[in-house]
Symmetry: C2
Subunit: 340 residues, 2 copies
């Protein structure tokens, strides 16, 4: 490896030509894989590129064509959660698969603080990406507003509450929550609580609304505990609160599989059998659902396909197509295992 | 949100000036936050920017300064694993924290196929990032070689086997594996196996070497099973193989916490008590270690600090400092819980 050099003294094409003892034009022909370059000249240029540490400036080429050939991905979760949530991982792989087929580079941008948020907004609107996919956007998000103001091709996974007329791919969280709660009620549970997360965006609000509707007159407000994140840790906290509120609780709708996994750990510690004493259902059908003891009854959502659909909405805009400004809903299903 | 427009017809500064009814110079003064712009002109320009969807081309500014103000992160794992491994998440947050303080944008690049690998190599050497952090590099990796050939400021987390003279931050995997295996032996176990992963890079090879050394004459080659990934799924496969090979096995060194979690699931299904029948130890002290039943005895590695150190090695090179070409080792420790 050549000695590291600061990027502001990067080698130029002239340095390569001088080292190789050929003309600038010959270097250019080698770089552009054109014909009419002798094997010996090609070898000399390739060696010189390594020796002087020449970096071809694709950013300069991008400037000419006004294309970075990259699409950004923004996930509005603390990055620690982003990285432990296999559901988001599946969405990401779906996005990457669609972009890769179209020869676009997926660029994931970390948002871990307000400082990150401002810098990422600047990066996105600064010409470094041609489009953006946004996951789990919250209300009043500065990045979403920067993207909207700049008119960059964008699509959401899920539907942000306060941004209208944006293309998105999502699921019907309300109907899915309604269906799985009804199924839980049908097992004979009478004191059913919910660990609700993400109430600052559509997914959390809609899951709570579906749960409320399913219980009807037997809905008890005090058996809904709100936690900030769809995480295992929040599942621990939420289940402890529910047990404190009603030690006789016999059913729990956890608003994600990770939350359900935390709830199961607390129930085990408290000596409650699942599904004997308490029936627990989750949401996502992510890798968590098969790892818990017992395996989770949950809502399956097509995470990879959601990512792919959102990426395709961005790619269509990049091709100049009109994708409309509404949403595209994908089907969910109930997967009934043994936790309820 | 303005109607999406393909990026090759992005609005220019002239479009903004025309819409606002001001000169190009006035637009430029507003964009550069200069004085001597009337409030009404400023308001007109700001409204026009939103109306025409003008995106300031920071890539063009980057070209002048030869800086993208971004650092790339490459993780050589299938992305599905990248996203379920909390240890990698901690490394990533450490990197982001150091870069964010220096006002650099962290850009994570997905490598999920050979096609991705080639495109990412082109992206990195194309001027879109000023430097690169590389995690879990394998032998003969095309991206690592592209980075080395281009002379871009780079640092590794861990030490690639076939690349010499690259700055890196790592741990002493050999000594850590030696220490925890000795501790397992000291609990009285006599038939100890290992689920070894990542043998195509330093971490896997060194952990196996430490294990072998610790057992000395009681090392039994048939009780080492090789699995490809540091994942829960590979832990399931590995533990099943070990039980088939020796149903009397009484100790297991799992080369990551995720592998240990899989091994515990298989032992539970097989009716073996842990630590009663079998003692199990892991490696990482990631979030997995506290979630398993029972909690894992494992090697703690300072994942966040490893990421921070690697990022600092890149930032120092970007400042033009000579960081040397060797490695920096951080301390590990044994955390003894109840799985062994």
């Amino acid at each position: 490896m050549p000695a590291a050099r600061p990027s502001n003294s990067r080698a130029t094409i002239n340095d390569v030509a001088a080292r190789a003892g050929v003309s600038r034009g010959t270097v250019s022909r080698v770089l552009n894989a054109e014909a009419y370059v002798s094997d010996s000249a090609r070898a000399a240029v390739e060696a010189a590129i390594l020796e002087v540490g020449y970096v071809r400036n694709e950013a300069a080429r991008g400037l000419v064509t006004r294309r970075s050939q990259a699409v950004g991905l923004i996930v509005h979760e603390p990055h620690s959660l982003f990285l432990e949530d296999p559901n988001i991982g599946s969405i990401l792989l779906g996005i990457n698969s669609a972009l890769s087929e179209a020869d676009y580079q997926l660029v994931s941008l970390v948002v871990d603080s307000d400082r990150d948020s401002d810098r990422v907004a600047g990066y996105i609107t600064g010409g470094f990406v041609d489009g953006v996919v946004i996951i789990s956007a919250r209300a009043h998000d500065p990045i979403g507003r920067a993207v909207a103001a700049a008119g960059i091709p964008a699509a959401y996974v899920g539907h942000p509450i306060d941004v209208e007329g944006v293309p998105y791919a999502g699921i019907d969280n309300y109907s899915a929550a309604l269906a799985i709660t009804r199924r839980l009620v049908a097992t004979g549970r009478r004191r059913i609580g919910m660990i609700a997360a993400g109430l600052d965006r559509d997914s959390g609000q809609d899951r709570l609304a579906g749960f409320t509707e399913a219980l009807g007159p037997s809905f008890r407000k005090e058996l809904v505990v709100e936690v900030p994140l769809y995480s295992h840790g929040c599942g621990l906290d939420g289940m402890r609160l529910l047990l404190d509120t009603d030690p006789e609780i016999d059913g729990v709708f956890a608003s994600s599989d990770a939350i359900a996994a935390g709830a199961l750990d607390v129930l085990r510690e408290a000596g409650r059998s699942v599904p004997g004493d308490v029936g627990v259902v989750g949401f996502d059908d992510s890798a968590w659902a098969l790892r818990t003891q017992p395996p989770l009854s949950t809502v399956h959502q097509p995470a990879g396909e959601l990512g792919r659909r959102a990426a395709e909405l961005v790619l269509a805009q990049l091709r100049g197509e009109d994708v409309g400004l509404g949403g595209s809903f994908l089907d969910t299903s109930i997967v009934w295992r043994t936790s309820a």
